[in-house]
């Protein structure tokens, strides 16, 4: 060992990449050796497994088909369903008046006009009593043709006011869709999308409800708060209590930086874990959920938003909890109280996002806004599904309507996404600044 003299002036800021990675790697190794880390990881995996089992069971069950528009019934007992009698212009209420063709099975008229999930269409206008609204119009969506066929004599009588353009978009048998600050407005013409596929609706609504529900509660809230509670609160405090902190900070590293890299190790650990869980969830639900192809690729961005929101929440909560740990040895207790507050705010956010201004004083609100913004963008027909489900009393609607919320911040999903992310990052930075300032001035007795 030589006794060479080294310049001191730049020793704190030199080789910072080496020091930062050393602290991060050390923190990761420390997590790996703790039994509590394994226990928390296992609890998360068990939770996901259990919930997935329920999900798969729900998705593989079959819902009894219901004839929402009643056209499969043989009202007069002549062996012909209402739809067939309408089609041939015979009286559905007179048993002696029936079509001169073989009777078709009633099942032909059940679930025969499903919802149109696509938001594609031509630009159009709706003009009702002089009030014009812009939107897009879906055409050729009358699956069973009962709106489009003019030879269905009696039906045309039944259509009533508005005829085959009851939504006033100047297009017969269409669905008018407009997007504005209040959300999405979807208005179909009469006899369009009037007899949805119950089974398909159930699985679709339950799938969306599950992804949003578990994404918001299971991931964003529960994992978002419990991972930091157990993994971040003691990030600095545990070292202070066990008196091993000096080995780490008795080096040419500013305490604030040390704290940042310590948090870095925690972020890497939790983000990696969350990425694994969301990947498992997205893969299994992607294969099991109803889809036109073998996999629901469209859901990937929803899962990505859940992962993104949870990572930001884990980051914000982790910084807050570890700062509590710096301030007091009762950091865990303070974090639990904070967690209770967050729980209340999360529940309020789920009940009615945006209705309670106080929810904006929570991390949970902003995290859920991120998921809501992306789900609004990706599943832009969810409101339509909910309103139709409520109208026909379809099974599965409750799951979707409970967890689907239109974001209350920003004029568009992208704005919401940006604002919410910025708020969470901002909270993290402010709390980190407070924490590192306190740590710098902390005497280690």
């Amino acid at each position: 060992m030589s006794n060479s003299s080294r310049p001191l002036s730049k020793s704190v800021w030199s080789k910072i990449d080496v020091k930062s990675w050393a602290i991060t790697e050390f923190t990761l190794r420390q997590y790996q050796t703790r039994k509590s880390t394994g226990a928390i990881a296992m609890i998360g995996i068990l939770l996901v497994t259990l919930v997935l089992l329920f999900y798969v069971k729900g998705q593989t069950s079959v819902i009894e088909a219901i004839d929402q528009d009643g056209d499969s019934y043989d009202w007069d007992g002549d062996g012909y369903s209402l739809a067939q009698e309408l089609q041939y212009g015979t009286n559905p209420e007179n048993a002696s008046d029936f079509p001169n063709v073989p009777a078709l099975p009633a099942s032909n008229w059940i679930d025969e006009d499903d919802f149109s999930y696509s938001m594609n269409g031509e630009k159009c206008q709706r003009n009702i009593y002089g009030i014009v609204s812009e939107g897009i119009c879906q055409i050729n969506v009358d699956d069973d043709g009962d709106c489009e066929r003019s030879d269905w004599v009696l039906q045309n009588k039944l259509i009533g006011q508005g005829g085959t353009d009851s939504n006033y978009d100047d297009i017969d048998c269409s669905v008018f869709i407009s997007t504005n600050i209040n959300g999405i407005t979807i208005i179909p013409d009469n006899f369009v999308d009037e007899d949805p596929n119950d089974n398909l609706y159930f699985h679709e609504a339950v799938h969306r409800g599950f992804v949003l529900g578990f994404g918001k509660i299971g991931f964003a809230f529960l994992m978002g708060i419990f991972l930091p509670l157990f993994l971040a609160t003691g990030l600095i405090r545990d070292e202070m209590e066990s008196e091993t902190l000096h080995y780490l900070i008795g080096k040419p590293i500013a305490r604030g930086e040390f704290y940042a890299y310590r948090l870095g190790g925690y972020f890497v650990m939790t983000w990696f874990y969350l990425a694994i869980l969301t990947t498992i969830m997205s893969l299994i639900t992607g294969f099991v959920a109803p889809s036109e192809s073998f996999f629901r690729f469209g859901d990937i961005q929803i899962w990505a938003s859940i992962l993104f929101a949870t990572c930001l929440m884990v980051m914000a909560y982790g910084t807050i909890f570890s700062t509590f740990g710096i301030f007091t040895k009762y950091g865990m207790l303070a974090s639990i109280f904070f967690g209770i507050w967050e729980f209340m705010m999360a529940m309020l956010t789920l009940i009615g996002t945006g209705s309670f201004f106080v929810t904006r004083m929570s991390i949970a609100f902003w995290g859920m806004q991120i998921i809501d913004s992306v789900s609004t963008f990706t599943w832009n027909d969810s409101e339509y599904l909910i309103s139709k489900g409520e109208y026909y009393g379809l099974e599965g609607n409750e799951a979707l309507s409970t967890f689907y919320n239109v974001p209350s911040i920003g004029s568009s999903p992208l704005t919401t996404l940006f604002i919410s992310s910025a708020v969470l990052i901002g909270i993290t930075l402010v709390v980190f600044y407070i924490g590192q300032s306190a740590f710098k001035r902390k005497e280690l007795k």
Binding site: S11, H246, I253
Partner: protein, 323 residues
Amino acid sequence: MNSNDSTENNSANTNVVPALMLDHVSKWYGNIVGLNDVSIAINGGVTGLLGMNGAGKSTLFKLIVGKLKPSQGTVRLFGINPWENKAPFSKIGYVPEHEKLYDWMTAFDFVTIMGRLFGHSRDSAEERAKHVLKFVGLEDVMHKELGKYSKGMRQRAKIAQALVNDPDLIILDEPLQGCDPLARTTIMNVIRELGSMGKTIVVSSHILSEIERITEQIVILHNGRLLALGNLHAIRDLLDKHPHRISLTTKQPRELASKFLNHESVYGVHFPAENELLVETHDLGNVHRDMPLILEESGIRVTAIENPDDNLESILEYLMEGR
């Protein structure tokens, strides 16, 4: 940083900046005084910091390594305030008093990661870790987990982590506490060798004989105050002129007592136990010089000789009386 730069440069131009300097430093914990108006400057060699438990040794060290902020006065490491600026830590190795280590790590991993925290690359840190672990005698067991180490081995691992960056100033807080005799000898040899390399070493203990075997340069703290500073032998010479006791274990204490009473420097004898003679003197050196002759002439077998007053408490008592 600039002010520190200029401090460093100016000092280099004018005179040598001491590795460690405390100027009228006090530290209070509420109403309790941890350290009271201590001023010292240390540069080079091995310095023993002596003091009873609670004397302020650990407080002094914590102030030096920037864990505590002085309530009053200034602490400088190589001319820089360690509370404000962590730069001096690149030249410091600190061995804390407590036993806590990362038991799940091997000594090699532990010292390597400590090296990386100084900014050394992984390869460089590993090389340094091997070198210092060999230096402290842990080469053969460096891949064993620290949790499986004995007390002495743990102390040596702590010393190794302090040496990994080849520090100019090494601070060891009670490094021999709880170690077995073999480990003590090993650690003392390590400290002496580091001292011979020209490092500035400050080592604390509350046991006089331990420090005596390592260095002659001592600082004595008592109740947070600096009680003495200087050469241990000079203090000991003063102490030797002070009333002192010598305990001899023998089967014929009374016969032996008569021989000692004839000595000019002995003014009293006692028999605290059946086989023990306690000789009282005001010139310890003189009695020790003549003792072999007295014992030889008496022909009485003595199985043990101890100086009960040759300890830190006695020195402290003496120094306190002189105040």
